[in-house]
């Protein structure tokens, strides 16, 4: 038996009776900062179907270069942003592991687009994520989450390494910072709007 958590008024969608929901995916490899990004701009405490990784999964995931992270998001987490009286935006975050393919289909269906978070020090880890997003036919922008101590990388080199199209936006962001995260999201939406011509 599951007991219903009692939720405050803010937990519910404001003006729900007139709202239409849209979603944007925030994706990236293991420990790139997706949860932090979503948490920085969500109006609700981010929710998840997250679970602590099992030992078996730990052996599969690549922990190199990631210190002090003992658990991870194995399913998805999400936040919410009320845009207007008509539109409420959900942000869904998930790692790029192929083994969650059913969940990817769920998430990708009907998404406006995707923001791909990239760690400049682990570029190769972003390849499978980009592949998946392209496979689902979603338009995307790249947000380079700069981690403390990581040297800046020049954009041309990064574009070449990730094999991006010339018009794919690349922005730098600090996923801990609300304004910085919002700016990355704004860049993506502006790009989607251009593509919708």
């Amino acid at each position: 038996m599951v007991s219903a958590p009692s939720l405050g008024e803010q937990a519910y969608v404001r003006g729900g009776a007139t709202q239409t929901a849209v979603k944007i995916l925030v994706v990236g490899h293991f420990a790139v900062g997706k949860t932090t990004f979503i948490g920085s701009i969500s109006e609700i405490e981010p929710l998840s179907t997250e679970e602590t990784m099992t030992r078996a999964a730990e052996a599969v995931d690549d922990l190199k270069g990631v210190q002090g992270k003992t658990t991870t998001t194995v399913a998805m987490d999400f936040g919410r942003l009320t845009i207007s009286d008509r539109v409420v935006l959900y942000l869904f975050g998930t790692p790029g592991q192929q083994r969650f393919v059913q969940m990817w289909e769920d998430m990708a269906r009907g998404a406006l687009g995707a923001l791909i978070l990239v760690d400049p020090e682990r570029l190769a880890d972003s390849f499978p994520v980009i592949d998946l997003i392209e496979q689902y036919g979603l338009d995307y922008a790249i947000a380079v989450n700069h981690f403390t101590g990581a040297p800046p990388r020049d954009e041309a080199a990064l574009r070449e390494a990730l094999d991006l199209l010339a018009d794919t936006p690349v922005v730098t962001c600090d996923a801990r910072d609300e304004k910085s995260s919002a700016a990355a999201l704004t860049t993506l939406v502006r790009y989607l709007l251009d593509r919708a011509h």
Binding site: L7, V13, A21, T49, Q102, R190
Partner: protein, 125 residues
Amino acid sequence: MTDRDAWEPEAAPLVRPYVITKGRELPDEEQLSLITLVTAAPADPRRPARLSPEEQTLLDLCSAGYLSVAEVAGHTQLPLGVVRILLSSLAEGGHLVTRPPVAPAALADREILQEVLNGLRAKFG
């Protein structure tokens, strides 16, 4: 039901969501997407509720306003597939009102994107 169900575990509380939903197309996935908004319908005395404890729990959760299907799963910590099945059963019984998201075909709708862009700019400068 497909053959795959034969070897899939029952919906036990500790089974991970993607194990339960894996390979199984829920009947009304289109109606109950992750971001379909749901709320409890006004109670109808002519239709007495005979709900399972889990259904009642979800209905209680949805009685104070609208939540997305994903949020219902997040708040209850129930697997998404289970939540979908329970919510669609509630909707079929007339206990739940659902607001589907924008149809995928209309997603290129510039109006929605423009509204999102304006909203982000207004909120975050």
